[in-house]
Symmetry: C2
Subunit: 219 residues, 2 copies
C-alpha cells in the first residue's frame, strides 16, 4: 500500500490533510486510519524501515520468508494454562470481542510489513501489557514508534492523539504523556518484536516471553 504521489510536496500535503482528517474524526474511525496509512506509506520511509529491521536476524528472516500467522484457534488457546502467552492472547481477543483475521501471503517486503504488523498488533498489546483503552493505545503507539522508528504512520497516530487531547481535553494530556513515555522507554529497551515467531511461544508462560524479549511492563 504505497503512497502513489511521487512529488514530495504533493504527498506531504496529502499526509497533512489525512492527519487533520483523523484529528477531526471520532476515535477508531477505520476509514480515516486507512487513509492515514496510505498517505504515510512513502517509498523512502518504507525503504529506511526495511533497512532498520534487517539489522535484526529474526526480523530479516521474517521479511525474507513473509509467512502469515495463519488461522489461530482462539478457543483452543483459551484452554492452555492461564499463565501462558496463548491463554493471555486468546483471553484478550475473546473478552474484547476481537477476531484474528488471517492474512494472505504478502507479495513484497512492504506488503509484509503492513500485514505482519496488523496480524500481530494484538499480540503486541498483550505482551506489552497495553489494554484496549486510550492509554493502552497511546502506550502501544509510542512502543511502535520506538520499535519501528521510521514509520510515519505510528508517529502520526501518536501525534494525532496528543493533538486531540490539547484541543478537546487538556486534562487528560498528563496521562497521555505518561503513557507515551512508558511506551517509548519500553519499546527502546525491548528486543525487536517484528518477526518474532509467536506461534512457537503460545505454551510459554507470558512472563517468560516478556523476560526473553526484555519487555518490562508498567505495574
Amino acid at each position: 500500500m504505497l503512497n502513489s504521489l511521487e512529488n514530495p510536496q504533493t504527498w506531504q500535503q496529502s499526509l497533512l490533510s489525512s492527519f487533520v482528517a483523523i484529528a477531526e474524526a471520532e476515535y477508531g474511525d477505520f476509514v480515516a486510519i486507512d487513509q492515514l496509512l496510505a498517505a504515510s506509506s512513502d517509498q523512502k520511509s518504507l525503504y529506511l524501515l526495511v533497512q532498520h529491521l534487517a539489522q535484526y536476524p529474526h526480523s530479516k528472516m521474517a521479511l525474507a520468508n513473509r509467512l502469515p500467522l495463519g488461522v489461530i484457534d482462539l478457543a483452543a488457546l483459551h484452554q492452555l494454562p492461564t499463565d501462558t502467552l496463548g491463554y493471555h492472547y486468546a483471553d484478550h481477543m475473546l473478552s474484547n470481542n476481537l477476531h484474528h483475521l488471517a492474512a494472505q501471503p504478502a507479495a513484497s517486503e512492504y506488503e509484509f510489513i503492513d500485514t505482519h504488523i496488523r496480524e500481530t498488533h494484538d499480540i503486541w498489546h498483550v505482551v506489552t501489557g497495553s489494554p484496549i483503552n486510550m492509554l493502552g493505545e497511546i502506550q502501544l503507539q509510542a512502543f511502535c514508534v520506538a520499535q519501528l522508528q521510521l514509520s510515519r504512520f505510528w508517529m502520526a497516530l501518536l501525534t494525532k492523539n496528543l493533538l486531540k487531547s490539547l484541543i478537546h481535553d487538556i486534562e487528560v494530556a498528563d496521562s497521555y504523556m505518561t503513557a507515551l513515555t512508558n511506551g517509548w522507554l519500553m519499546g527502546k529497551t525491548a528486543q525487536c518484536l517484528f518477526g518474532v515467531d509467536w506461534l512457537s511461544l503460545w505454551e510459554t508462560p507470558i512472563e517468560q516471553v516478556r523476560s526473553s524479549l526484555n519487555i518490562h511492563t508498567v505495574n
Copy 2:
C-alpha cells in the same frame, strides 16, 4: 491574552487552524507562535493552570505579587564566577545574541503567567541544560508540558514539532522522541520552576541551583 471566542466548537476550530498554520510555517515564525498562543489561551485551561500552580507556595506567591524580573544587566552577570547561574545565563544570552526584554507589571494572574514564562524562558533553558537548537527546544517544551501540564500552548508546540518531523524528516523523529522523553521526565522530577526567585540565585553555583530544584540534566 485570552481567546475571545466563547463558543467551544469555534475556538477548538480556531486552535486547530492555528496548529496547522504553525505546522506549515518555518521554524521560529513568531507571528504563527503568537497566533497559536492566542488561540490556545482559553478561560478554562488558564483557570485550571492557575489552580495547578497555586498548590506550590512560591508559585502561589508569585501569582499574587505578579512582579516582573525587571531590567537585567547581562554584562555585569557575565563578570560573576563562571560556575554561577548568573554567569551561565548571561553567557547563554550573549552567545546566542538574545536580549532580556523586561516585562511590564501584569494586570491579572493570566497576564502574569504569560509575561513570567516569557521573561524566564531562557533561564529555564539554562537550568535544564537545553541548548538553543531543535532538540533543546523540544526537551524544554516537554519540560514545560510536564510543569505547566494544563497548558494547551506548550502541548501544541511540542505536538507541532512531532508533526513536522513525521511529515518532513522522519529520520529525526527518534532523536525528537528521546528529547521529549528526557524533558518530560526532568519536568516531572523537578520542583515547580514557575515563580522561583531567580534574582536571588544569580551568584549561586548553577549545579547547586539545579540540585536545590531537583533538576537532573541529561549528560
